[in-house]
């Protein structure tokens, strides 16, 4: 992969990696930005060392996933449950209209109530538009497991939303 291709990769997937980090790292904006930088730095180092990258998107998400695990290990992240009621401060969505912002905030509120393993696959599947096979590759699970987890996650999310509406 050349420098130009790598730069294109950054332009294309920097936001995706940021989002993935943002949702998984307790919506910590600074941490998510650090994750983006670290992910691309590690990817470039791998390229420099001769690693062949066939699917750039999957590779980037795999690196980000591993970095998030490292961050979890290093820091004891504050419980996600504590963030549920704190609300969403959509700093990164300033250009959106208030309706959209409210919608995102609402969805995020429900998503945050999901256990991390469900949240992770739902974000990758429906926000980042990755297939079960790619998700399986990123998180190191079987494709079947990922599909089951996506269905259960959706059911769980529905359940949470219905309960909230009632």
């Amino acid at each position: 992969m050349t420098q130009l291709e790598f730069t294109h990769l950054y332009d294309q997937y920097a936001d995706s990696i940021y989002r993935y980090g943002f949702f998984r790292l307790s919506q910590d904006k600074a941490l998510a930005e650090d994750l983006v930088q670290e992910t691309f730095t590690k990817t470039w180092t791998a390229i420099s060392n001769g690693t062949k990258i066939t699917n750039g998107k999957t590779f980037l998400f795999t690196v980000a996933h591993n970095l998030i695990i490292d961050i979890y290990r290093k820091k004891k992240m504050s419980s996600l449950d504590n963030l549920i009621d704190s609300g969403f401060n959509p700093e990164s969505t300033e250009d959106l209209d208030p309706e959209k912002k409210a919608e995102i905030s609402e969805v995020l509120k429900y998503v945050n109530r999901l256990p991390d393993n469900y949240k992770q696959v739902l974000i990758l599947r429906f926000v980042e538009d990755l297939g079960p096979q790619e998700i399986a590759q990123i998180i190191g699970e079987s494709e079947n497991n990922v599909s089951v987890r996506i269905n259960r996650g959706l059911s769980k999310l529905k359940e949470i939303m219905n309960l909230s509406i009632k």
Binding site: F6, Q37, W44
Partner: protein, 299 residues
Amino acid sequence: MNNLEQQLNSLSKIKLEAKSKADIKFKLNNLINEPQTLPNPKGQTYTPSPFAWSYLWSNPKLVGVLSVFIFTFSITYGAEFSYPNNILYPIKTNINEPLISILKTNPQTKLDWQFELTKRRLEEATHLATNNTLTPDIENSLSLKLATHLQNYKNINESSSLEVINAHDEQAFNSTLIENKNTNTTILKEDLPENASRVALETENDDMSLIMASPKEEPQSQRGILATSTSPKEGLTENAESDQALTPPKPSDTILPQTNTSNLINTLEFYKQEIAQKSSQKNSPLLEVIDEKLADFKK
């Protein structure tokens, strides 16, 4: 896509801020343009790993062979420092030392090795005597081994000395013949009458025929000596330069110098005193062997 999925998809509106994105891109560009991190065009970037050889440990056969090798080496090496009351001592005397003996092919190295073995036995005896662990059984065993080593030393010394002396004798004999021939020719040229000079010139290559053809009576003693001389001293009365070459070698000039034997005698005497001081036994078999061999070597 149902409503729930659409709602989830709305989260994709969250994006990295433009400024942050540009900052990160700038940092990445700096990283990319660092010369040491540029990708090798041939893809031959190689960083030696400290664990590069760790894969060898996954080979059970290799691990087995290495383990056996290390174990054997450790045992044999450890045995070298053992004493007769140690469990490894039989390995030292029955495996290590015979194996080393086989490797000694040169008479001098063989002799040195027997000297070394003698010293080892004496040292072991002294060590045990110092620690009061020199039992009669061990002492008997050591005295037998010592006698064997000293006998081997003597045998090797004698056979090697004979070989060397024989070799020197042969060389001296050949030198004598050549010198005799030269001297003989010179004397005959001076003493022969003119009419016989022709014969002398013709017979330069043959001493015996020259003597037979000479008409003049030669001093019998000189001719006789020249004709029959095989002794270097007899044939070299007038040639001082070749004196050295024709002198028969003495045993002390051989490659097995007397200092070896005198060293051995000194060593035996030293350890004799040591053992006599430290050993509690009056009639020690070791001392008997040392005395016997000392007398033998001093002859």
